[in-house]
């Protein structure tokens, strides 16, 4: 074959393309990619600081709590020098059962290009469960990308949902029991980086985003895991929504939507309202909705002041599921609600069905979990085991 002629014809064929300005579109997509990376860097820094200080563990198990598991119980594979979580001097120590079970996943993938090129490797990663006074226990093993980027636990703690790639390169929504048994492939062509499967409060349904990259915006659907049937949301497909939270009363799904707004929907996808002052010309850019109060009136979010994003600014450059929160806001006014953190840095917030919150803060060289009641008053706190400080909390159950 005449290669010169092939070269010339390829060049002529390439001339058919119409030039367009992709700057704005690229920046918008970059911001969305940044969503799952925001704030994760703060925990990475925590690990480094802990490693430098080389201090001892200070988890404060309650004397009435259950006995630790046998010594041969495997531990999370995070190897860092122990940190010291500093508890508030007036804090009441939390007992097993008060916080429910906390489920942890890894913070980062082994090879970042896997995320950047929408791939999946054979590297496995584990999810872990912990409650105060009890040693962490392994739940199940997932493909690493799923464990880092999209695994979620049902509110009753019994099941895990995630998105993984099959042998044909198709991403699909998978559900299994929390110990990995009864694994079932539910739906194909599901987004795996933007919208993690979001559980309904009854632990039966899952909001997900169908992802067909070459046919325009995909659909949002609510899957009934018992019947494997999907009710598709109607209306505007181009919500650009990522990172949703489903309120415990079942009536509100709060979602970060395009242009950094926060939109509240009902379970059918009907728009209820937007949170003021976020996105567009507002003062704040929302990058993710992490958790919603039982009635949807309060939202844990990650947000940045308008203009505070772009290369080297705003969200960090580490992956993770972006379950990190830096503000609790009123969904009607958009104003921040102050939490009693004792001057410590907020890392994660998870609402429980009774309106109380499990709040993770950075404290000293470790991390501490606070229980705050629905009126906003502190109930107690407990330091996290050292091996969990470098992981992300992916859910709070029970």
């Amino acid at each position: 074959m005449n290669e010169e002629r092939l070269r010339r014809d390829l060049a002529e064929l390439a001339d058919e393309v119409t030039m367009v300005d992709l700057r704005e579109r690229s920046l918008r997509m970059s911001r969305r990619l940044g969503i799952q990376r925001a704030l994760a860097s703060s925990v990475a820094v925590l690990v480094v600081v802990g490693a430098i200080t080389g201090a001892a563990v200070a988890v404060r198990p309650h004397p009435d709590g259950p006995a630790p598991l046998p010594a041969d119980t495997p531990s999370p594979p995070v190897s860092v020098t122990p940190n010291v979580p500093v508890l508030s001097s007036s804090a009441v120590a939390l007992r097993a059962g008060q916080l429910g079970r906390i489920v942890y996943g890894p913070l980062d993938v082994t090879d970042r290009t896997v995320l950047e090129t929408d791939q999946q490797t054979t590297v496995p990663a584990d999810l872990w469960s912990w409650q105060p006074g009890v040693a962490p226990s392994r739940l199940l093993s997932l493909p690493e990308v799923a464990a880092v980027a999209n695994a979620t636990v049902s509110p009753d703690g019994r099941r895990i949902a995630w998105v993984e790639m099959d042998d044909n390169g198709v991403w699909g929504l998978v559900v299994a029991n929390a110990d990995g048994s009864d694994k079932s492939w539910m739906v194909s062509q599901v987004n795996h980086l933007c919208l993690a499967p979001t559980w309904s409060p009854d632990s039966r349904r899952l909001l997900f985003w169908e992802n067909l990259p070459d046919v325009g915006p995909g659909r949002y659907g609510v899957l009934d895991t018992a019947t494997k049937t999907v009710r598709w949301w109607s209306g505007d497909r181009n919500r650009g929504g990522c990172y949703a939270a489903w309120s415990a009363d079942g009536g509100t799904i709060a979602m970060h939507t395009s242009d950094f707004t926060i939109t509240l929907y009902d379970v059918t996808g009907r728009k209820l309202r937007e949170v003021p002052d976020h996105g567009g010309f507002g003062a704040w850019l929302c990058f993710a909705v992490v958790s919603a109060s039982p009635d949807g009136s309060r939202l844990a979010v990650v947000r940045f002041a308008t203009g505070d994003d772009g290369p080297g600014k705003g969200p960090g450059d580490l992956p993770g599921q972006n379950l990190w929160a830096n503000a609790l806001i009123d969904s009607r006014t958009g104003k921040e609600i102050t939490l009693p953190l004792g001057g410590r840095e907020l890392l994660q917030v998870f609402f429980r069905a009774d309106g109380s919150m499990v709040v993770r803060v950075r404290s000293g060289h470790g991390t501490v979990l606070l229980l705050i009641d629905k009126a906003g008053r502190p109930v107690g706190e407990v330091g996290e085991p050292t091996e969990l400080t470098a992981m992300q909390i992916v859910g709070v159950t029970g």
Partner: protein, 176 residues
């Protein structure tokens, strides 16, 4: 304006045209090409703070673009987004007129659509971007041997799916 932002803007303005041309050959579709370049640029933007000093931004963007294309192609399962029907070859006139040239482009586009994403990527890198086999291998994350075999398979496939194209190229080659 922030220096890094300005630098990234400059990169986008200067390189989008070249990236789109390659993306168009990879996808055969204007909108898919835009999506591909946009996705690659977005990832470049995320990594800009570590890329701008190294001067490897374009290599990173292209590498991302080629990997994404292969990944998307696998996911779609239906590889042909381009028209798959080959036009009848025009005979006679040895000097291609405008209509003939248009038909030829259509034939080539349809023939490219018959290749796998990796074969198409190899052809674009080797014969459009004029990359060496080693450069192509590095960009695609495969061995030089794979590049050689994929190139051979891609050219053979072109000959099979568009014999009139092969005939034309062969006859032109013979006259030179």
């Amino acid at each position: 304006m922030d220096f890094l932002v300005s630098e990234f803007d400059s990169f986008v303005r200067s390189r989008t045209s070249a990236l789109l041309r390659s993306a168009y050959l990879l996808t055969g579709d204007q909108h898919l090409a835009e999506d591909l370049v946009q996705s690659a640029l977005a990832r470049t933007h995320r990594a800009w703070s570590r890329l701008h000093d190294s001067g490897n931004a374009e290599a990173y963007t292209r590498k991302t673009m080629y990997h994404l294309q292969v990944s998307w192609w696998r996911r779609r399962r239906v590889p042909e987004s381009m028209p798959g029907v080959l036009p009848e070859p025009r005979g006679g006139d040895p000097v291609p007129d405008h209509a003939q040239q248009t038909a030829l482009r259509f034939t080539l586009r349809a023939a490219l659509a018959k290749l796998s994403a990796k074969q198409r990527a190899v052809l674009v890198l080797r014969f459009f971007e004029d990359r060496t086999e080693a450069q192509t291998a590095e960009l695609l994350g495969v061995t030089v041997g794979t590049v050689k075999s994929q190139t051979a398979r891609a050219l053979a496939r072109l000959r099979t799916v568009a014999p009139e194209l092969a005939e034309l190229y062969a006859s032109e080659g013979a006259t030179r």
